[in-house]
């Protein structure tokens, strides 16, 4: 059990536990805060995968923007301060069954794949992942077109969200 394995086990335990709390919390603000914990766990997983840039972007974008947006939305769409209604709908057992079946299906499907137990190649020292990522994002024979389309998508989402939520008094 190397240190990395121990860290991975602890972090994944925390992540999955927080995810469970997200989907079963009665109080939606608590659910949003558990989501923050889950996102933080995922950021640590990215660090374990030597994707440091993605880890920091995860914290900035997901925790710093999306989670706060969730908290604002929860606060703006509640009728009273206490949540008395049940948090799960009538057919929640069907959802649970489907979730278990999905997990089992994915797991068994991957078991039969040969590369399932592959261990990682060593991370070459001096490998400038961020520089290469930057080049891939703006180089014409790499991914500049999806990058530009994503920015147009964000612009459309920005305009749409402002228009939808605008309260003309």
């Amino acid at each position: 059990m190397t240190a990395q394995q121990i860290i991975f086990l602890v972090v994944s335990f925390v992540t999955l536990g927080s995810a469970l709390m997200v989907v079963t919390s009665r109080n939606l603000i608590h659910a949003a805060l558990w989501l923050v914990s889950t996102l933080f766990g995922v950021a640590i997983i990215y660090t374990l995968l030597n994707a440091g840039f993605l880890a920091v972007v995860q914290v900035v974008v997901y925790i710093g923007a999306i989670a706060i947006l969730f908290i604002f939305a929860v606060m703006l769409t509640r009728k009273d301060m206490r949540d008395q209604s049940p948090q799960l709908n009538r057919n929640w057992w069907m959802g649970a069954l489907l979730a278990v079946v999905t997990f089992g299906g994915l797991f068994s499907l991957l078991q039969s794949w040969s590369g399932f137990s592959k261990t990682a190649a060593d991370f070459p020292s001096g490998f400038d992942a961020i520089g290469r990522l930057g080049e891939a994002l703006v180089s014409p024979d790499a991914f500049v077109l999806p990058f530009e389309v994503a920015s147009v998508l964000l612009l459309a989402a920005l305009v749409g969200a402002v228009y939808l939520a605008f309260n003309r008094k």
């Binding site: 240190a3 109080n27 900035v60 710093g64 706060i68 606060m75």
Partner: protein, 401 residues
Amino acid sequence: MNFWNDPLKIAADWLMGIFTSWGMPEIGAQALIAFLGIFLLIAILMVLDIFLVWIERKVVARFQDRIGPNRLGPYGLMQPFADIVKLLIKEDTTPAGADKVVYNIAPMLSMMSVLILWAIVPLAPVILGVDLNVGILFLIAAGSIGTLSIIMAGWSSNNKFAMVGAFRQVAVMISFEVPMLAMLLIPTVLSGSMGMNAIIQKQDIWFVALAPLGALIFLIAAIAELGRAPFDMAEGESELVSGYNIEYSGMKFGMFYAGELLHAFTFGGFWSILFFGGYRFFGLEKVSPFLAIAVILFKAMIGYWIIMWVKYTMLRIRIDHMLAFNWKFLTPLSFVLLMMTALLNALLRGGSTWLYISGMFLSNVLLAWSALEIARTYSRREREKAEGPKQALGVVAEVHH
């Protein structure tokens, strides 16, 4: 390689020798040494924080033409210790109906978001927590955690004023992250790296000479991020009954307050790292790391003094004016500045140094002047729409006679 040249490595090797001679496995010893280093840094920061309280109170007193605390100890130096004792012995209340867990975690998260920033601050070329190659983004990420802590504090207090204050503060913080991020990209463009140490190493010419407008906008955005005046809508004592920390008393309030001061000092430090050369001072840092630490602390103190100067001189801005200022003025200006800096940097860097410096400096001045002219025209137009043009008023007055 003696102690005065490379203190951290010498200390770490010595401790490693001791721990392995006790029979500890190497990886456990490494973890323990890392913890001891973190603990030492946090202890020093907390003591520094106490003196920041003293500095703050003395400086605000001088700005207000009075003396400040001078009863306890020489020049009132023991005053912050008395404050801490007072905060510690206060009753630890939790308001009725408050969300206990969230209420108690919020001040811890707020303090954590400040302390975590010191992991990437390079105190000397060889003394730094971790040389992250995405240090700039780490700065924003830690700010996000601070934002989260404020909204947790405001919501969990079960108090309308706290929630309104927290909403406003979080809106200001998220909004001002955009020009701050754009201005953080200017040292990245000028130095070719996002790591703090690399940015300092590349500052043969201080970046403030190459992008003075960038330094100014970064300072404005940083003051807004800190939640200090003139952007302290959340804690406007006269308006919101001190906003998100209404229901906090005792040490929890102390953590918010001390965390804010330390945050201001940290941003003074980052301002000096990004634009004023960090620990560099004409080669002084090569002499000894301790001189480098002294240099960077001195520059951080100057940055902190400027932030305090702004706080105690300027009036508070209204919340809608704050947000309009950000989205309608600062954000477009910062993006244009970023593009212009990147373009001019690529064009002029190869040429002569004097052309480079003067070209970038003049372009910044030109951009600032034209932005202010546009703002002036816009505000003149707004004023005319609101009051009517000057000639019509004179005609109306004559007619009424």
